[in-house]
Symmetry: C2
Subunit: 349 residues, 2 copies
């Protein structure tokens, strides 16, 4: 029974013994009181550090409190954000992390400055942040970066700053695939109903569209390109405008499913048959694309996967791992459903 080296519980008293001082002195150091000689304080701090002492409160927190990651979304009304959130939640459950929801577009939300938000993240002991929103421009992320808060932006609307970690999808390739699909069906008059002009992801989709047209030697027609919001209303308005044109397009590539749904709704009202009279391709591949009438051909983004990847990045940053890359881009792929068909005969010049 001469076991001499038992684990020695990590109490204040144990630290005191190790540092060769009394318990009250250690207590003072731990509580940041000033009436301790610099030399004594140093000895105590060394002992504390070496042993990894935690106060009972800290211990309880660590034992029971799991890391909390804040997810910032514009709204729950977009299938896009909800799908990403699903992916985040899935990985969170698997990695024993909690997710706090912060929906910026909600009524009555107090308009905190980024500076205040960032300080609060620290004060409330949050571990990191995932942002899927247009509410934070790159510049507004600066207070978070300055405080070294792990943060990941999903498919940033603005070109990401050098040091912001981001997750996105291959938008350019997706835009090209959608357009190539329509070209393959014989369409030549293909419109692009885009999202916000400033959005990086929208630009990539537009340029993919243009690249596909150019590769086929089809002239890019300015009146066929419209930007707006990623919302059904924009699809409705865009469809109305396109149907007024002297040379109607025979196909529309909408830069999001929600825009495409607006197009379908307006087509129904105006008795334009989809896909017989006109083909429509969406972007995102949310469940809305499956459930629409007709089911929507769409460029599918791996939204859940993107959510998982974002959380994985946050956790790596929390652990202090070095990241191999500050940007991950996951592959999109075209899912052909029933909203696209060969270009109608009479429309071919």
């Amino acid at each position: 029974m001469a076991g001499s080296e038992r684990p020695a519980k990590l109490t204040l008293a144990a630290i005191a013994r190790e540092a060769g001082v009394s318990a009250p002195t250690v207590s003072k150091v731990v509580n940041g009181r000033e009436d301790v000689a610099a030399e004594t304080r140093a000895k105590v701090l060394t002992a504390l550090e070496r042993s990894g002492y935690k106060s009972p409160l800290q211990r309880k927190n660590i034992a029971w409190r799991r890391p909390v990651v804040e997810m910032v979304l514009d709204s729950l009304n977009s299938a896009y954000g909800v799908e990403v959130l699903n992916g985040v939640l899935e990985h969170a459950a698997a990695s024993d992390v909690e997710v706090l929801l912060n929906v910026t577009g909600v009524q009555g939300a107090s308009p905190l400055s980024p500076e205040q938000r960032a300080q609060r993240i620290i004060d409330e002991g949050r571990s990191g942040m995932i942002v899927v929103t247009s509410a934070f421009s790159s510049a507004q992320l600066e207070p978070f970066l300055r405080r070294d808060i792990p943060i990941v932006v999903i498919d940033p609307l603005n070109p990401p700053q050098g040091d912001v970690v981001s997750v996105g999808a291959s938008n350019w390739a997706g835009g090209k695939a959608a357009t190539t699909h329509l070209l393959g069906l014989g369409h030549r008059r293909i419109a692009f109903l885009g999202g916000p002009e400033a959005a990086e992801c929208n630009q990539a989709r537009l340029h993919g569209y243009m690249a596909a047209l150019m590769a086929e030697g089809v002239q890019v027609e300015d009146s066929y390109i419209m930007s707006g919001a990623f919302r059904p209303e924009h699809g409705v308005a865009g469809m109305k405008a396109l149907l007024q044109l002297e040379q109607r397009p025979t196909a529309i590539f909408a830069a999001s499913d929600s825009i495409a749904l607006g197009v379908l709704a307006e087509a129904r009202r105006q008795q334009v048959r989809i896909p017989e009279d006109m083909s429509v391709v969406g972007f995102d591949g949310t469940y809305q694309a499956e459930e629409s009438v007709p089911p929507l051909t769409s460029v599918s983004q791996p939204l859940q996967e993107m959510g998982r990847a974002a959380l994985r990045f946050v956790l790596r940053q929390m652990r202090g791992d070095t990241l191999d890359s500050r940007r991950v881009e996951l592959a999109t792929h075209l899912v052909v459903r029933e909203s696209t068909a060969p270009c109608p005969r009479e429309a071919v010049n």
Copy 2:
């Protein structure tokens, strides 16, 4: 200086004195241990509530953290839950409360026992809970109640226990309104595609349906009543079965919008025109009802309002206010859209 009634620091011992028990007993109650007689526990809980006792840990948390309310949902794939969540978030933003999301149906979620969950709520300093799920039966709520955690259940699937605070909608009146609407259009053969048989809300809808039929002297036809899940698949299967019947119904009352959407999809496949050949009414009034083809006549529940009410109840419990009522039921109302029409001539006997 004979001030006799000093504020008496809020210690365990003080509570013990007030409740007329010993400190260890109070300690047990606070920690949710089970070896306490129900009566003793009640006495202690009253004293705790009255005095607003907080453990040292809680006290420290409260000093610089905003209250965090945990929202428990089955899944984000149901518009129902997302709408309620929206209401919760709205009120949360206005009352400076944070919302933590716990989605039980997510892959990889660790299956914690209610006992463990409840203890974690305390340990992590959470302030309360809103539950919109079938994952917790009334019995499973017991560990939360025992710990005096403010908890509110939304439209409980099980009949709520006496002391569980709950928020619901007037399901019976809604079921009656839906059916009366169909009767008013001349329908007599009206089917009911219900949700889970055990669900309180489903039973209320069913009985509202029966009440309307009986009021009109219409025989309740057993083969027209089917229960299942609140899911589109159930609508598809139910529609298939109903179309096989010798006497097809001319109208269907689906106990949820998602069931109704399944009905619409199957109708499309089988070339049954809605509403010309058959009328369909849903329940919930989520955005899905507006966006379906044709737009769905549906009994609208004030889901956002329910979410707000739930959070309001949680906050009141947190403050220790006495509640005037442990149950709030908000009004439903029928929204007539395009999926219902007069009973087709040839179907009238």
